[in-house]
């Protein structure tokens, strides 16, 4: 066997090298056969000097590491040769001189690869066959023995002896206790110096004025020691943590040196995403980048999440553009609403293990080349590629997660179903009797009349007298919830030869949610990334991924068929068991089939029971989604000349999302009660093409420049088709097909859209003397959505400047890097499609709280003007941003800080400007608003411990964003989404998305205006009641590695936002919140809200409160019917949404020792245990994750209304690499 080692900086592949390699590959078999192993060549010279002898292999490895030279050799031929390690220092890191010395008396020789400055091949010399031949080396590098000696002397020469007045000596050891030879010891402020010998000893003569000694050695941190008159100084050096220059990816997918950028960017490595064990890419980002805020929808399997980058700067949706390997891809989440199911985010179709890195381009300047799609920031995802000249790497990862509900809503269990303190088996509320006062034993039933026969034959009669004292909260909960799990398996293969690389991966993620039934997600992905070079000038690469995802989720939120709405309102004394069956009006009566039994309808007497029994929700309703997605791109590069390169890149992202929703006959709701089945197909298609020419003109020395001109074409089209039937022919059939519907009970709809963007763009990069960097970009863009009477194309410019001032300024020693940067840019948001022309629509007149009149049933059908007026002047909104920042690194890069300030203004903000409805229309899309954001971002990373087998790094990310809707003409408020009572809105003078709802009636002094009984009243006008935008977000990340153990912790916090605790408000109204179960005693005669007097000494269910006119009794009338109910002033249910959580805690152990590798033939094994969402500390909010979001990924946050619960997970991972 042979092995070709080729390390580091193997960026350019040369044709001659390919031949040389080939030559060796062919020749090596013979070598092994003919050349005897184990020859030991000792070099007399090295012995003489008391040299440190090491094997040639180790020597070469050291050389590669120290000199950053690529050395190619065949291990077989270098066996048994020993060399002097000291030669490395002795010959001052000159590869050729060192090799010359080492190989002089060996059967080997070496030569440089022609045309390369960085590659050297070590081979068997012809001397083996012939007589002594000097190694063939570059004559310039050949050094005679005499020269070597004189060189040695040179390096050890001390300053002029006449100035010497003392000698300092000592030893240098490394942090692991080993002596370090070859350390350069110099005197600060003076020339000359010495190096340490093989035992790490040094001896140096000091001039009188000498103050400090500087110890430096490659691979170690520079150390400055004050002499302080000492004669002996022992020094410990610390190895430098690997600090490879950080490379980030820009908007076009090109790699750039982070240190040369004039804007800030956050990179999240693929490992960080994968190690979060989130299953979905978006949640894996949480807490890992400053300025990026992630809100999960819920713990539902595969549910989407909301991403907000640097605040909301537009009204129409703030999700960032996702660019995958240079191609924009879809991250929509269609069908989200405050009811229905939590839909997926399409970004989650990507397998997290395929991601090499995610670069979050937060600012306008970073994203400017995406023009009218860049306003919300751009997330550039780069997938993994194979490495050239790499062996086959096989990696297999398997994770198993155990998921629990994060928190349960606290519920009262003191009072039973009913009202006014009296048990009532059909009441909606739990304002009934005191359960403890019940007689006990079995209930008294009326078995003479109507009854319910459950599917299993159990019979339920109406309860005449409730005697049973059993509380069913826990058993009801256990019938609905379980511990969920997921199993994630992923396999990848990668590698490459000199011309081609490949990366192939296969993954399968299978999750069962914490809800017992119909709550699951499975994602299977397959990816092939490959590249091939054709000659020196042309290369082709292609990235292709296929994803199949299947999911089923339970309805939530503001929906009577949602899970929590029916579940949490179930009184404590009602058992939800036996939820389906038949209702009989009496013995022998015709059964009324497909009835559900619930707390409001305990014997199934109601055909539409108001809300579902939660078991019905999870067993008799389905919401499937199946997505077949294909993302493929190819890239062609041609290097026409030294100074010009052409690149063509094109890709397609297409998917079909097939959904179906099934409601068994008897489900709650007007249509659903008849049985309902919906099926829809959404086909999405995006094509993107770029043609880019890159020029690298040579202007003059010291100024490097790169220019780029590109043309971009993008087309997005979409087609939806959906159908629905209601009223099944056979309600019991498992058939999910329209054939089970009666003629006339069909609903059909379809919709198609098409939009295009075309742009010409350019960028100019200037680098002056490697410390001053200027970048200018510009994009001329046209889009089909611009109005006919608006300009046809818009210009989006950017300019960024970076100055690495540590290169120019005299800075203290601990200062390793400093960069000042500033940028200015304009980006945009393009108008929504089809808003430029007034249209007609076939109306379905909806009757609020009731039904609909569908115009196609009447007369010949109808078309009426749409309520939105067309606007032919629509143009993109423009966000102008100024950003400045300071990046600094200290103490050999151990402390790294980055600070950014940004300030942006979005003008011409597009929104559906409400118009007075007395004008006959309700709105018109217009460029009318203005939004401002400013904020700061701070990243601090510190390597607390940097030793070989013990490292500890600590990072703190902090961001603050302040947003204001500075102009919103003609609209006091703009409803973005939410409930009918409380919604997230845009209101001039407030942050975007403020919560809007009913307020207390207050006088001019802002004091409550109380009614005659001393209770506050609801004001007629609604207003701003809270702000869900957190004041700041922070996260702390730490990684601790000790030998093979590692610990990763991510703690995140969001402070200062509000949440509308709608679930709690509703539970108060229904007598289910614990506060409603308090028993108070009136200290004196008190008024209740309904005007009744609670006499002194009377016990009543409720609380005592003083609103300003003396204490009053908050009883059932206040909570259920009065302004203290959900329907009352929403203002009172606004809570502090601040939270802090352990986002992730991972403990891992990896085995990759030489011994282990030899034994198992594996590269490594890693075992990890991760806790996700382990602890959440909420400041005020109870019952669910305060970060949960009713509106899914919409702009609106901060509303809780029977959101499905969040989860906590424990994940075990096994990773094998071969």
């Amino acid at each position: 066997m042979y092995k070709i080692r080729q390390l580091m900086f193997f960026n350019h592949m040369y044709k001659p090298l390919g031949l040389v390699l080939l030559f060796y590959i062919m020749g090596i078999g013979q070598t092994q056969a003919t050349y005897p192993n184990g020859i030991s060549v000792t070099l007399s010279e090295q012995k003489k000097n008391g040299a440190t002898l090491i094997s040639l292999q180790k020597g070469l490895e050291l050389l590669i590491k120290e000199t950053r030279t690529g050395i190619i050799y065949e291990p077989g031929i270098i066996k048994g040769i020993q060399v002097n390690q000291q030669a490395i220092v002795q010959y001052n890191y000159s590869t050729e001189r060192i090799l010359n010395a080492w190989l002089k008396n060996s059967p080997l020789t070496f030569n440089k690869i022609s045309g390369s400055t960085n590659y050297i091949i070590v081979r068997r010399s012809e001397r083996d066959a012939q007589a002594e031949v000097r190694p063939k080396i570059d004559q310039r590098a050949a050094v005679s023995k005499d020269e070597e000696v004189s060189n040695m002397q040179k390096t050890t020469v001390s300053p002029s002896p006449t100035l010497q007045d003392r000698i300092v000596e000592g030893r240098v050891v490394s942090s692991d206790g080993q002596t370090v030879s070859g350390v350069s010891v110099s005197i600060e402020g003076f020339g000359g110096g010495t190096v340490t010998d093989a035992q790490g000893r040094y001896r140096i003569a000091l001039p009188e004025a000498a103050q400090r000694l500087i110890f430096s050695n490659l691979g170690y941190e520079r150390h400055v020691e004050t002499i302080n008159g000492r004669r002996t100084i022992e020094i410990t050096l610390y190895p430098v943590a690997k600090q490879i220059e950080e490379v980030v990816v820009d908007a076009l997918g090109f790699e750039r040196k982070a240190d040369a950028l004039g804007y800030s960017t956050s990179q999240i490595g693929g490992g960080q995403i994968a190690s979060s064990m989130e299953g979905s890419v978006i949640n894996g980002m949480a807490g890992k980048a400053s300025g990026v805020r992630i809100s999960r929808t819920s713990g539902d399997p595969g549910a989407g999440s909301h991403i907000q980058i640097r605040g909301a700067s537009t009204i129409g949706g703030i999700q960032p553009l996702i660019v995958l390997d240079g191609i924009p891809i879809d991250n929509s989440s269609s069908g989200n609403s405050t009811e229905g199911v939590n839909q997926q985010s399409r970004l989650n179709d990507i397998n997290p293990d395929d991601i090499e890195s995610m670069d979050i381009l937060k600012g306008a300047a970073a994203a400017a080349l995406w023009g009218s799609r860049a306003s919300n920031g751009v997330i550039v995802i780069t997938t993994k590629k194979g490495k050239a000249n790499d062996k086959l790497n096989i990696s297999f990862k398997s994770s198993y997660s155990y998921d629990q509900i994060l928190e349960r809503h606290p519920l009262q269990s003191t009072f039973g179903q009913g009202n006014a303190g009296i048990y009532n088996s059909t009441s909606q509320q739990a304002w009934g009797d005191l359960i403890a006062d019940r007689f006990g034993g079995s209930d008294v039933i009326d078995n003479t009349g109507a009854f319910f026969r459950a599917a299993n034959g159990n019979i339920y009669y109406p309860v005449v007298e409730k005697r049973d004292q059993t509380i069913y909260h826990d058993s009801n909960f256990d019938q609905v919830f379980q511990n969920g799990y997921f199993l994630d398996n992923s396999l990848s293969l990668s590698g490459g030869d000199s011309r081609a690389t490949y990366f192939v991966s296969l993954s399968d993620f299978k999750q069962d949610g914490i809800i017992r039934n119909n709550s699951d997600y499975r994602r299977t992905t397959f990816r092939v990334n490959a590249s091939r070079k054709f000659g020196e000038k042309i290369s082709l690469s292609t990235n292709t991924a296929y994803t199949l995802s299947n999911s089923n989720r339970i309805r939530k939120g503001n929906s009577s068929s949602g899970l929590y709405l029916g579940m949490l309102r179930t009184p404590p004394d009602f058992n939800i068991l036996d939820y389906e069956g038949e209702y009989y009006t009496g013995a022998g009566a015709t059964p009324q089939r497909n009835r559900q039994r619930g707390s409001r309808s305990p014997i199934g007497a109601l055909a539409n029971p108001g809300w579902n029994n939660p078991l019905w929700t999870i067993h008799n309703q389905e919401n499937f989604s199946r997505v077949n997605r294909f993302i493929s791109s190819f890239q062609f590069n041609a290097k026409a000349t030294d100074w010009m390169e052409v690149m063509l890149r094109s890709g397609v992202d297409t998917y079909i999302d097939e959904r179906n929703a099934y409601f068994a006959t008897g489900s709650v709701g007007q249509l659903q009660s008849l049985g309902r089945y919906d099926e829809s197909k959404e086909m999405d298609y995006e094509i993107n093409a770029d043609a880019i020419t890159i020029f690298r003109p040579k202007l003059y020395a010291g100024l490097h420049s790169e220019m780029l001109v590109g043309f971009n074409f993008n087309q997005r089209s979409n087609q939806d088709i959906s159908g629905m039937i209601t009223g099944f022919i056979d309600p019991d059939s498992p058939l999910r097909n329209f054939v089970n519907g009666r003629a006339g009970s069909y609903g059909l709809s379809n919709n198609r859209t098409l939009r295009r963007n075309a742009a010409l763009y350019s960028s100019v990069d200037l680098n002056y003397q490697d410390y001053l960097f200027l970048m200018l970009t510009g994009r001329f863009e046209s889009a089909s959505t611009f109005g006919e009477l608006a300009k046809s194309s818009f210009f989006f410019p950017s300019a960024t400047l970076a100055w690495q001032f540590h290169r120019n300024l005299e800075l203290p020693d601990y200062f390793s890097f400093g960069k000042l940067r500033a940028s200015f840019a304009m980006v945009g948001v393009e108008p929504v499609m089809y808003r430029t022309i007034s249209q007609f629509s076939a109306p379905t007149y909806s009757d609020s709280n009731g039904g609909n009149l569908e115009s196609s049933w009447f007369g010949n059908g109808a078309f009426v003007p749409a309520n939105r007026v067309g606007n032919p002047y629509l143009r993109p909104e423009i966000k102008t941003e100024f950003e400045t920042g300071l990046d600094m690194r200290f103490i050999s890069n151990r402390l790294r800080t980055s600070f950014t300030y940004y300030n942006n203004k979005t003008t011409d903000v597009l929104f559906d400007v409400p118009i007075p409805s007395s004008s006959g229309y309700t709105n018109m899309q217009d460029n009318a608003g203005e939004i401002k954001n400013w904020g700061v971002e701070l990243d601090v990373n510190y390597d607390v411990v940097r030793k070989n087998d013990f490292t500890w790094t600590l990072g703190v990310l902090w961001d603050h964003n302040r947003n204001v809707v500075s102009r919103l003409p003609d609209a006091e408020s703009l409803n973005l989404d939410g409930l009918s009572g409380v919604s997230g809105r845009a209101v001039q003078g407030y942050q975007l998305g403020v919560l809007w709802g009913k307020k207390w009636l207050r006088d001019a002094n802002n004091a409550l205006v109380l009614d005659v009984n001393g209770f506050p009243q609801v004001a007629e006008a609604q207003g701003v009641i809270g702000d869900p935008n957190p004041a700041w977000r922070g996260s702390a990340l730490t990684t601790l590695r000790y030998k093979n153990f590692a610990m990763d912790v991510v703690i995140e916090t969001m402070q200062g936002g509000n949440i509308f605790a709608g679930t709690y408000a509703s539970l108060l109204q229904y007598g289910m919140a614990p506060e409603t179960a308090n028993i108070s005693v009136a200290p004196y005669d008190m008024m209740a809200w309904n005007g009744q007097v609670v006499t002194q000494g009377t016990e009543f269910r409720g609380n005592i409160e003083d609103f300003g006119a003396g204490p009053v009794a908050l009883d059932e009338s206040w909570y259920r019917q009065g302004p203290g109910s959900y329907a009352g002033a929403s203002e009172q249910f606004i809570q502090d949404a601040s939270w802090t959580r352990i986002q992730q805690l991972t403990l891992s152990y990896s085995l990759q020792s030489e011994k282990f590798r030899n034994m198992t033939k594996l590269q490594g094994v890693e075992l990890a245990l991760t806790g996700r969402n382990l602890f959440v500390w909420a400041k005020e909010f109870r019952g669910n994750d305060p970060n949960s979001n009713l509106s899914g990924i919409g702009t609106v946050r901060g509303i809780d209304y029977f959101n499905n619960p969040a989860t906590r997970s424990y994940v075990f991972t096994l990773k094998l690499t071969y």
Partner: protein
């Protein structure tokens, strides 16, 4: 050379940017919606919108404030307790003006198509009907500038009196247009009379009578009443002829829906008044309301709600009357009292009772139906229709208003008629649900307060009467 580079550069840039706008051009016409339609299709849409408005949620909201319904949960409970905010009326207001807007666009389309005539007359009747109702509910409202966004993006408010006058004028124009020999809508496009102008002229006159009564012009109300719907067959009603999804009577849809349990008739002023078991049952030796009560209201599970069964007044295919023969007679009865006195007025009331005796108003049932003619003496002393504290004349007027109150159960006109007459000595003593005052009007919608720069300077409260009732 530099020049050459520059020129070629500029050519590329200009060429591409021109190409850019070409590539993207002409794609923004929505393929999913038409950008033109015919007046006939618009007529159907206009009418259906009006049906939704006049028979849907607005009547429930008004009914909660008018003793017809009791709110028991959520929004209806709040409304019932008079916890009412401006935003509660945004939808109704928009729906009103959408009807108006459709009528205006219809006229424009008809003009462009050279189709003026009957179809425009029908459209004007529809618009006048909604305008009059809007003025009755809100007082001063946009009229002359309403529904024309392009000309008036912030319509000014006209005084309630001016709106009523404008509505009368509009109805006169409608009658003229209906007399045209041409312009009849295509078959089936008119949901009410299939374009029959004679029937529409009667509706126009009846509406004139209603709106004259609103402003207390009894003479004109009487005159137009006589030209109006004088036969049961001429009734203006919305037919829900199919028992199909989203085609049924809106009350039936409501009581089948999710909010069915939030509202009921049990425990209301109306219930006690009409139910034979009610505490204030209005039946007497000449009157039996059993059939009517059962036709209007049904009781299941201890809750009385609108009768949405197949034979009920609100069954899936039960028609909803927008202007009835009964109302026309009652307008005549009330107006006749002021013009001709007691006897003439009583005659009209007895004409109505004679009609009721046929059972036609309760789907043809005759059991539980008794409406013998009243005589003058019934209204005085110990007469069965006498009311203590009221004169004979006042007792008759009270009877007429009672009849209207029942007739308008689940209709918007009930709320309006009650507000018109509640301060009269003979007005019905409707008790407030909470407190001591009855809501007098609908609040201006939040949408209008937020957006219309021409909104009224002083925003009246729920308890302020509209100008015509002051």
């Amino acid at each position: 050379m530099k020049k050459l580079v520059y020129i070629s550069w500029m050519t590329i840039v200009i060429g591409f940017t021109t190409a850019c706008s070409k590539i993207v051009g002409g794609l923004n016409d929505n393929p999913n919606q038409p950008s033109a339609t015919s007046p006939d299709l618009l007529l159907t849409g206009l009418q259906l919108g009006a049906v939704t408005l006049h028979s849907g949620e607005m009547t429930r909201d008004a009914g909660l404030l008018n003793g017809y319904f009791r709110g028991t949960d959520r929004q209806y409970l709040t409304l019932y307790n008079y916890t009412i905010i401006n935003a509660d009326f945004s939808g109704h207001w928009a729906d009103c003006y959408r009807v108006v807007r459709n009528a205006i666009v219809l006229e424009e389309l008809a003009k462009a198509d050279n189709r003026e005539g009957i179809i425009v007359g029908i459209s004007k009747v529809m618009a006048a009907h909604t305008f009059g109702t809007t003025a009755a509910l809100w007082g001063d409202v946009p009229f002359t500038e309403a529904g024309r966004y392009v000309e008036y993006s912030n319509p000014k408010y006209d005084s309630q009196q001016d709106v009523y006058a404008g509505v009368q004028n509009m109805l006169d124009e409608a009658i003229t247009a209906l007399q045209s020999p041409v312009g009849r809508p295509v078959a089936n496009a008119d949901l009410f009379f299939d374009g029959d102008p004679a029937k529409w002229i009667k509706v126009a006159h009846s509406l004139k009578a209603r709106f004259y009564l609103h402003v207390g012009d009894y003479e004109k109300a009487f005159d137009h009443g006589l030209l109006g719907i004088m036969a049961p067959a001429d009734v203006w009603q919305a037919d829900f002829f199919m028992n199909e999804l989203n085609a049924q009577n809106l009350y039936e849809q409501f009581y089948r829906g999710n909010r069915a349990f939030d509202m009921e008739t049990s425990g209301t002023y109306f219930f006690e008044f009409l139910s034979p078991t009610g505490s204030a049952y209005r039946g007497d030796t000449k009157t039996n309301e059993t059939a009517r009560f059962n036709y209007l209201v049904t009781t299941t599970g201890g809750r009385s709600i609108n009768n949405i069964t197949a034979n009920g007044a609100f069954g899936p295919t039960a028609p909803y009357k927008l202007f009835s023969y009964e109302e026309n007679l009652l307008i005549l009865a009330e107006a006749a009292y002021y013009l001709d006195g007691f006897t003439e007025s009583l005659n009209f009331l007895n004409t109505l009772r004679a009609y009721y005796r046929t059972g036609a108003h309760v789907n043809g049932t005759t059991t539980g139906v008794q409406y013998d003619d009243y005589v003058a003496s019934d209204f005085v002393g110990s007469g069965m229709a006498a009311v203590s504290g009221l004169s004979q004349d006042q007792a008759l007027l009270r009877k007429i208003l009672e009849e209207k109150y029942i007739l308008f159960y689940s209709h918007i006109e009930g709320f309006i008629d009650m507000r018109r007459t509640m301060d009269e000595v003979y007005g019905l003593p409707l008790p407030p649900n909470v407190g001591t005052r009855l809501p007098q009007r609908f609040l201006y919608p939040q949408t209008e307060l937020d957006r219309n720069i021409n909104k009224p300077a002083v925003i009246p409260s729920l308890y302020d009467k509209t100008p015509v009732n002051q």
